[in-house]
C-alpha cells in the first residue's frame, strides 16, 4: 500500500466525474500513467477519486474527448494549507503582536513609589533615580541591580540613612528612613575636664569651671584641668565644666613607602555582550566575537523576562568585560619621602582631630631598604587635650 504523503506536499484534489464510460476513462488514465486513488462509485454514473494537483492538466486533456463532466470537490495538502494559513495570517500576527506587547509592557518600569520621605528628600531621590536612568517607561533589563541602586542612593543622598529597594512587578518601591538629625544638646552633666594625654599647655578657652593649671605647665595624662565645682568652701556649686585647652603634644611616626608599586587599573576599554538565557543555553543577541583583552574583569547582570507578573524561564544577561592593565608607579627617593610625609601628616591630623594643628615636623631617620623608603618623623602638634569626666554625686573635687 502506498501512503500519499508525497502527493500531500504538492496538493491533493478530490475529483467527481459524471457520465458514461467511466471504466474506459479509468483505463485511459491508468495507461497514460496518471495515478489516482481512493476511487469510489456513487450510483451508476458518478465516481469520485483523488488525484495529485500536478496531474490536473493531464486529467483535463483526457476528459476533453470523453464526454464526462468533472468537478473538483475538496482540496487538501500543503499548498492549500499554506494558502489557508496565509489567509489567517492576520489573526496569527495579531496574537504574536499581543504577546509581544504584553512582554514589552511587562518588562518596563511603570511606577516609582517612595515612602517615608519628606517632599524635599523625595525630590532628591527622584533626581538621583533619573540620573541612574530609572524612569517610567524604561526597560528593566537595563536598570541596575537593586543593591546597586540602594548603595547609590544611600551614598549620594545625605538625608537618608537607609533605603529599602524593592521591585514588585513593574513598580519600584522605595522605603526611606530619613536621618533624624537631632540638635546636639550639650548635656548639662556635672563634669570635670581632665587631660587626655601628656602635653604642654599653650592656650585655653574655658567657658565654665575653675582652672587648675597654669600656662606652659606640663600636664600628665588624667590630670585635672578644669574642675566642675566652683565657689568657696561652704558655698560650692557643681557645674558642667566646659572649654578647650590647647596643649602641645608630640608624635613619632614611621612611614614606609615602596619605590615601585604595581597597580591594576581599568583602562576604560570595555566590551558588552547581551545574551538570552534559555535554560542551559545562552543565545547571543548582541555583541559577538571573542574578548581580546589579556586581563579583564567580568560583570554579569541577569534579569528575568516577565510576562504579566510571572517570571519566564528566560533571562536577559548582560555581560560587561573591562580590560585591566598593570601600571607601575615609580617614585624617586625624594618623591617617596615627600609622599611619606604627606601620608604621615594625614595620619596625624586624623589622630588629633579637626581643630588640631601641626606645629612642627622633623625627619629623624630615613633609609632605603628592599626598594622601600623608611622614614621616621617627629611631629609637634597642638590639639585640644580636654576630656570630659563626669562628677560623681558627693564629689567635691
Amino acid at each position: 500500500m502506498k501512503n500519499h504523503w508525497v502527493e500531500y506536499l504538492t496538493g491533493i484534489i478530490t475529483v467527481k466525474a459524471t457520465g458514461k464510460g467511466l471504466e474506459r476513462f479509468l483505463n485511459k488514465l491508468m495507461k497514460s500513467g496518471i495515478s489516482i486513488w481512493y476511487i469510489k462509485k456513487h450510483g451508476l454514473h458518478t465516481i469520485t477519486f483523488q488525484i495529485s494537483l500536478k496531474k490536473i492538466h493531464h486529467l483535463r486533456r483526457i476528459v476533453r474527448g470523453s464526454g464526462l463532466k468533472i468537478e473538483f470537490q475538496r482540496r487538501a495538502g500543503a499548498p492549500f494549507l499554506y494558502k489557508r494559513l496565509w489567509k489567517n495570517s492576520g489573526f496569527v500576527l495579531g496574537v504574536f503582536l499581543f504577546i509581544g506587547l504584553v512582554l514589552t509592557l511587562s518588562n518596563m518600569v511603570w511606577g516609582i513609589e517612595i515612602k517615608g520621605a519628606n517632599p524635599a528628600t523625595e525630590y532628591q531621590i527622584r533626581k538621583q533615580l533619573d540620573k541612574m536612568d530609572i524612569k517610567i517607561g524604561k526597560f528593566q533589563f537595563f536598570t541596575k541591580e537593586l543593591d546597586e541602586i540602594q548603595a547609590e542612593l544611600t551614598n549620594n543622598i545625605n538625608a537618608i540613612t537607609w533605603v529599602g529597594v524593592e521591585l514588585k512587578g513593574t513598580t519600584y518601591h522605595f522605603q526611606v528612613v530619613e536621618k533624624d538629625e537631632p540638635k546636639k544638646r550639650e548635656e548639662e552633666v556635672p563634669q570635670n575636664l581632665v587631660a587626655a594625654k601628656k602635653a604642654t599647655i599653650v592656650d585655653d578657652f574655658v567657658e565654665e569651671g575653675s582652672k587648675r593649671y597654669s600656662m606652659n605647665e606640663v600636664v600628665k595624662k588624667g590630670q585635672l584641668l578644669v574642675a566642675g565645682t566652683i565657689g568657696k568652701e561652704d558655698n560650692t556649686k557643681v557645674v558642667s565644666a566646659k572649654g578647650k585647652i590647647w596643649g602641645e603634644t608630640w608624635y613619632n611616626t614611621d612611614v614606609e613607602i615602596p619605590l615601585e608599586t604595581i597597580f591594576q587599573v581599568f583602562n576604560g576599554k570595555e566590551k558588552e555582550k547581551h545574551f538570552l538565557n534559555l535554560g542551559k543555553w545562552e543565545v547571543p543577541v548582541w555583541g559577538f566575537g571573542k574578548v581580546e583583552f589579556k586581563q579583564y574583569e567580568q560583570e554579569e547582570n541577569t534579569k528575568p523576562i516577565k510576562f504579566f507578573k510571572w517570571e519566564l524561564p528566560i533571562q536577559v544577561v548582560n555581560k560587561t568585560y573591562r580590560e585591566k592593565e598593570e601600571v607601575v608607579r615609580g617614585y624617586s627617593e625624594k618623591e617617596a619621602i615627600q609622599k611619606g610625609l604627606e601620608d604621615a601628616r594625614k595620619d596625624i591630623l586624623k589622630r588629633i582631630g579637626e581643630d588640631g594643628k601641626i606645629k612642627e615636623e622633623k625627619i629623624l631617620q630615613q633609609q632605603i631598604k628592599n626598594g622601600k623608603v623608611k622614614i621616621k618623623i617627629a611631629f609637634t602638634t597642638i590639639e585640644n587635650i580636654a576630656k570630659a569626666q563626669p562628677l560623681k554625686q558627693g564629689d567635691t573635687e
Binding site: M1, L26, W37, K41
Partner: protein
C-alpha cells in the same frame, strides 16, 4: 501454411514455458502471465497483472485478464490504488470468480 507454422511456433513456445515452469521452479505468474491475487481476509484484495477495468461499482469489480476475466463481488468497494498492472481494492469481499469465455 504460413498461418499454420505461426500457430505451431506459438504452441511450441507455450510448451517450452510449461516445461520451464516444471523444471526451473520459477513463480508461475512471472512465467505464464497469470494474475497474482493477494487477499487480506475479506477486506483487501490486491490483483497484479490485470489488463484493465471492465466494470466498477461499489458491489462489483470486473477486471480483464490476459485470458478471461476476474469478477470480484462484495460490498462498499473502493479502489485504493490503480496502476497499469496493479489494483488494490478495499471493501467487503464475498466472492472472487474467474470467468472464461
Amino acid at each position: 501454411m504460413e498461418r499454420g507454422s505461426f500457430f505451431m511456433a506459438k504452441k511450441w513456445g507455450h510448451s517450452l514455458r510449461n516445461w520451464m515452469n516444471k523444471n526451473l521452479e520459477l513463480p508461475q505468474d512471472v512465467m505464464m502471465d497469470l494474475p497474482r491475487i493477494t487477499m487480506i481476509g475479506q477486506i483487501h484484495i490486491y490483483v497484479e497483472n490485470h489488463r484493465g477495468l471492465i466494470t466498477f461499482s461499489d458491489k462489483e469489480l470486473r477486471l480483464l485478464l490476459k485470458q478471461g476475466q476476474l469478477l470480484i463481488k462484495g460490498k462498499g468497494f473502493v479502489i485504493k490504488t490503480i496502476l497499469p498492472e496493479e489494483i488494490l481494492l478495499e471493501g467487503k469481499i464475498d466472492q472472487v470468480l474467474y470467468i472464461n469465455e
